[in-house]
């Protein structure tokens, strides 16, 4: 079975500081993808960053970066220079099985950025 675990239900950070959201996963697949999605109160699920399992290099998108530890099955998200607009629910997700594959979501971490 494929599982995704986010152990931090809620987190808060001061504006301009750095925060790290944790995610662990379990899969027996060798070819899979990992994602972080952001869902603000406007409710649209927005892709933040993705990581291909076969790539050793950690993905980076502007202020967002991941720490991908394949052996440990860990995939954390670091947000640098936090902004008020980063306030949202963050979901870690795992995908396998090509375009027909399901996205397995973690339960989410609610991040609040405080001024």
């Amino acid at each position: 079975a494929q599982t995704v675990t986010q152990s931090q239900p809620e987190m808060s950070v001061q504006e301009a500081e750095t925060v790290t959201l944790s995610c662990t996963y379990d899969t027996s697949e060798s070819n899979y993808y990992l994602f972080w999605y952001k869902q603000p109160p406007s409710r649209q699920m927005i892709l933040v960053i993705r990581q291909e399992a076969y790539k050793q290099q950690n993905a980076t998108e502007n202020r967002f970066s991941v720490n991908f530890q394949k052996a440990a099955k860990s995939f954390s998200l670091k947000i640098s220079d936090s902004q008020l607009g980063d306030t949202a629910m963050y979901f870690c997700a795992l995908r396998y099985g090509g375009s027909q594959g399901n996205l397995i979501f973690g339960k989410g971490t609610k991040l609040s950025v405080k001024p």
């Binding site: 409710r43 927005i46 979901f91 027909q100 339960k107």
Partner: protein, 110 residues
């Protein structure tokens, strides 16, 4: 701006009504998905269409009926719903890697 458009944004329907949710994408992705999301929970997969054919049905009750008329459109037909079906319904379109989501339809069944 989203490249996956869902209509309507909000829908209130009675338990005897028939309504449809619509999803449209013009990104050329050949896989399209319906997810159901309850408050403070992650999305749960309902259906997957691949090349306009239903490939996954996650044991969804028959009161939900999906339809994929062409590669750009995905519908979800609703009939005889229950109050517990009230949720956010998300459509997504994807390829081998990421899936792109629409803004969702907030459905309330009264």
């Amino acid at each position: 701006d989203t490249e996956v458009t869902q209509t309507p944004k909000h829908l209130v329907m009675g338990m005897t009504n028939k309504k449809s949710l619509k999803c449209e994408q013009h990104m050329g992705h050949r896989a399209m998905y319906w997810y159901k999301q309850k408050a403070k929970k992650p999305p749960e997969l309902m259906f997957v269409y691949s090349y306009e054919k239903l490939s996954i049905n996650e044991s969804v009750p028959s009161r939900f009926s999906p339809e994929c008329p062409n590669s750009s459109l995905l519908n979800l037909h609703l009939h005889a719903l229950q109050p517990e079906d009230s949720a956010l319904y998300l459509c997504a379109a994807g390829m081998n890697t990421e899936a792109f989501f629409g803004q969702g339809t907030r459905l309330t069944v009264v």
